[in-house]
Symmetry: C2
């Protein structure tokens, strides 16, 4: 059951004027050379982390805007406190200043992967396919994404559920260096992901997943205000949970609003493992905290009158304050930052991107 958008018989719309690529970085963006054929048609939003006096070189020919810490402080004023410093969590500033419908975000140590036939993978095109075709969170389809060419809903799939729901998030994967935590990195220093799994699937309603920010696309109008990467890095007791935090929040909100989250294709080539000792220091508290955070999100219920992403997110911040600040005072601060983030988002997006009520909640 191929939708018009996702069929190989019709080319995938490239959404050139509707998608921004957001890249957090502390270095020159040489990695873009390999992505040139795929990224050059798009506008880039580069969020420079760390020392703002440093100059980031961007290869010629790319259309971009670059924000460093000074820019963030200038644009957001006191509300800049919600944007992390010295941590790639700062990328979410790019989501906020974008004016486009779709965002693709990628790390600067991610390169173009090859499929099993040796063909270079256009990750962005696959993300667009994922976002433009519906999700199926209410029932599992054993042949994976029923909207791909050559696939469909299998026998026993209820017909009333086959329309699916709008897709808000497309989570891509990584060949070579897998996204492991520090303990796993330490235990398995040589493990590489060589398995190309040719599948896209909807993460079922009610199920949480570990969302990695390395290779991620989303519909900013549908879910943007919930894509906050939290308080990490400089001055914070934790790191490497920025994307996880966003993933738990967006999943609870997508489930509530009747939106879909897909994972699987596309793969990128993740070139370099980060230092497991540095990572352990960043993750240390998170390893304990996540044992309480996960049950919190698994049991989080949003009231019916939360009909927009912003309302959902503010309600979630209340619940974080109420329930997680017992785990650590950090969550009290984080809950406040979640509110600041929404205030800043609304300020920069006054015509209310994502105030539109998603599918099924009009």
């Amino acid at each position: 059951m191929a939708t018009v958008e996702a069929s190989s018989h019709t080319p995938t719309p490239l959404l050139k004027d509707e998608l921004d690529i957001v890249i957090p970085t502390i270095r020159n963006l040489d990695f873009l050379e390999m992505w040139r054929p795929f990224f050059e048609p798009y506008h880039l939003i580069i969020v420079q982390d760390g020392d703002p006096s440093k100059t980031i070189k961007v290869p010629d020919g790319f259309d971009y805007e670059l924000y460093n810490r000074n820019d963030i402080n200038r644009i957001l004023g006191p509300k800049a406190s919600c944007i992390s410093f010295k941590d790639s969590a700062c990328r979410c500033f790019g989501y906020m200043v974008s004016k486009k419908k779709y965002i693709f975000t990628i790390d600067d140590d991610c390169f173009v992967a090859k499929d099993p036939s040796g063909k270079l993978i256009n990750a962005l095109e696959q993300h667009i396919k994922n976002l433009l075709s519906p999700s199926t969170p209410h029932f599992f389809n054993t042949l994976y994404d029923p909207f791909r060419d050559g696939a469909d809903f299998v026998r026993g799939y209820p017909f009333t559920l086959r329309e699916g729901v709008k897709t808000a998030v497309s989570h891509g994967l990584w060949l070579n260096i897998p996204d492991y935590d520090a303990p796993t990195q330490l235990v398995k220093p040589r493990e590489r992901n060589t398995r190309y799994v040719d599948a896209v699937l909807t993460i079922p309603k009610g199920t949480l997943f570990p969302m990695c920010g390395m290779n991620l696309a989303f519909d900013r109008e549908l879910i943007g205000p919930a894509m906050y990467f939290g308080l990490m890095g400089d001055g914070q007791p934790i790191g490497r949970y920025d994307d996880m935090w966003a993933g738990w929040c967006i999943k609870v909100i997508c489930d509530h609003l009747g939106l879909g989250v897909k994972t699987g294709l596309p793969y990128i080539w993740h070139s370099k493992a980060s230092n497991p000792f540095v990572n352990l220091r960043k993750e240390y508290k998170g390893i304990f905290w996540q044992e309480e955070i996960i049950p919190f999100f698994q049991s989080a219920v949003l009231p019916k009158d939360c009909t927009s992403v912003q309302k959902c997110y503010l309600e979630l911040s209340n619940q974080v304050k109420e329930k997680l600040s017992q785990v650590d005072p950090y969550f009290d601060k984080l809950a406040d930052a979640m509110v600041t983030w929404i205030e800043a988002w609304n300020e920069l997006n006054p015509d209310g991107a994502s105030a539109k009520l998603p599918n099924g909640n009009a």
Copy 2:
């Protein structure tokens, strides 16, 4: 994170004395020739459907027992009414008479598939790997089965959930002819499944799936008494929902008892599409009914004192009688047959296979 059982460093135990292969059929079992290298070490339970006076030829060298309708009637007496006639749903009689811990069931139009490298797939070996390694129903792992070689839990996966739960069911897939319903067959007569997805994944807790009986393995001690394929075929208003019914029941019960259900590898080669017009006649009522059956199972709650599969199943039969017989009187009859099935199971399995309390419910 490879378990001892599933690692490539240790051979997969073949469980020769612990597994029966159950095959429902109406014809000579020539298809076994292709499976000979894989199936010959095992005991086969052949459930002959239709005219019992017909002789089914089994290729030389296989160790088997064969039951026809006369045998079923003789062994079960009046309780034989719960076993379908003129429908492959009769296969569940084989689950009942088996004395082994594991069951693999396969249709006689399924042949050995090849992986993308051209190697013949030992489906049974993969099912055993799936059953012997834990499942992870409480949180989604984006790199799929974390217990496969070369894979693990990704960053952000809570450590307390990494032990997983026992796997009760392994649902394999099909290359070539996909398992489509009659309407899809009619609309897409030429669609073939050519996509080999190199993945095994746990179906998350709380999520239902369409379980196909073509290529299926399970742990009889853990879930056997719930693997009832219902009343189909001769004298019944419906067909082709036998495995679906079992799939909905086993999933609700596995979720309740803390057991896992996996889907994905292994593939078999499904050779021949059944007649879509015949199928439409069989499925017709099911197409309507499933729209009410799915919400019923999605909202089914089993009370805490249901601590064995039998107790769960009898409770489910009560709920079917109470809620689904409003949909059609057929469900009243089906609910009674569910009780008969458990009575017959207990009679043939007096030492209470699966009376053992599963993991986490001792």
